[in-house]
């Protein structure tokens, strides 16, 4: 029987919770000539095990918006589904597109609502959001988030997931001292940079799939522009890979 006097602590002091801050994946996005390019590897892991090698982490939310996810797939995919429906419901009922600010906030709120689970050690999601702003200052826009829901608009590039340190290094290097700044790259050049960056991340990060040369599994690459979202066909990615990466 424990001592139950008034001075005894109620319950036990919570153990210091380790919040996993890196998510097993690599997602990257940067602005180039044709809009924003968003790329993600295909690997899904549970601990040390690769559970799936064809995961799609670059998700279309509406005609002009992409959410790319690093983190727990169950939570991330559910967030994407909620976002997709809320943007569309808004457009259909209000007969106008939701503003970019509104969309960015909507994702922020989902992340904040989820933070209780993150503290319990499950369900952390750190997304990138790319969209085209058709408002008064038309331009492709790019945001990254932290697990609590703070959003940061970026000028050039963003990367998230366990392989992101390598990718951030590459993107910074390319942007500062590469042949051209990222914003001036053509589509083929941008795809080359994305593939090289993901392949580099996969070299040292076991949780990143990179390019599976044997099974011919390539990263998912999508582009957001004024015209909407383009998903690059696998053939095209394979051709760029063969020419300038492999």
């Amino acid at each position: 029987m424990g001592h139950m006097g008034p001075l005894a602590p109620i319950g036990t002091a919570p153990a210091r919770t380790e919040i996993p801050l890196t998510q097993a994946t690599t997602i990257l996005a940067f602005k180039f000539q044709g809009g924003v390019l968003v790329a993600g590897d295909r690997r899904a892991t549970a601990g040390n095990t690769v559970v799936y090698d064809r995961a799609d982490k670059v998700l279309e939310i509406d005609r002009h918006s992409i959410m790319a996810i690093a983190g727990v797939p169950a939570t991330a995919w559910e967030m994407a589904r909620v976002l997709e429906h809320s943007f569309q419901f808004f457009r259909r009922t209000q007969l106008q597109e939701m503003s970019v600010d509104g969309k960015v906030r909507a994702l922020s709120k989902l992340l904040r609502d989820n933070f209780g689970f993150v503290l319990q050690g499950a369900g952390v999601v750190v997304p990138i959001f790319a969209t085209y702003d058709a408002g008064s200052d038309p331009a492709a826009r790019l945001y990254f988030y932290d697990a609590m829901g703070a959003q940061f608009e970026v000028a050039d590039d963003a990367a998230t997931g366990s392989g992101s340190p390598a990718v951030r290094g590459i993107l910074y290097y390319e942007n500062s001292w590469g042949k051209k700044p990222l914003a001036k790259l053509s589509e083929d050049e941008a795809v080359t940079v994305a593939l090289r960056a993901l392949d580099t991340a996969a070299e040292s990060d076991t949780a990143t799939g990179g390019v599976d040369r044997n099974a011919k599994i390539f990263p998912v690459i999508k582009i957001v522009s004024r015209e909407g979202i383009t998903t690059l066909p696998e053939k095209k990615i394979a051709a760029v890979f063969k020419r300038s990466v492999a």
Binding site: R63, Q88, F89, R91, R92, L95
Partner: protein, 259 residues
Amino acid sequence: MIEEPYRWVEAIANRAEYIETQLASGSPIVALGYRDGILFLTLGKTRQKLFEIYDRIAMGAIGHPGDIERLRMAAIELASTEGFTRSAADVSLRRLAHYSLSPVLKTAFEQVYGAPYLARLLFAEIGAKQENDLFLRLDYDGAIATNSATFAQTRQDFGALSGTRQSTELMEKYLAAEHSAGATFERALKLCLDTWTVGQLALGDSGVKELPAREKILAERKERLRAAGIEAAILDRDDRSALRYRTLDETEIRSALGD
């Protein structure tokens, strides 16, 4: 007084007459299947009359704006709830109309102490192939008319909606005669405009009862196009995107017409 059955029937008849009068001047709406999708068209006065309901479903409406709005919101909410809890593939126009909207309209129409809906709706749902396209007209009393094949009717690749029965029937007659399944967008656009013109000519007490001559339709169409704006939207058959609804802007339409 309406406790007596006869009085009830009389009250309903009066109410139907009242609603018909209210709807009689409504500008016609045409929905037409063509090679790459379904085209919705009307000539606008001031307010929007074509709406997106869900991924593959569009709606056109005439009537009181408040009533149209209530029905539009109900349709969107039903479709969105189903699409979110199950999947977009489980949202069907047939279920939406038969099990949800029609009973609501019928009840409102027959509860003679309450207000009926002053609205008439035309829906279309794009299918994987043209023969799966569904066109469905829903009247203020909950009555449903579709394009599907029955003993009395062959399948039609179009739907029409207008202020009066006479106008609607004449539009359908014109469409049945002029429509061809694999039509291009340009051809479908012209046919929609002609059909709209036929429907417009048939409205009112002095409206035409038989299909007007080709020259008369063309002259009238030209005249109307000068004065009013075209409102048009398409449901795209291309399934690369889940969202099929797209409004067409005036310049896109005018350039397709060659004006």
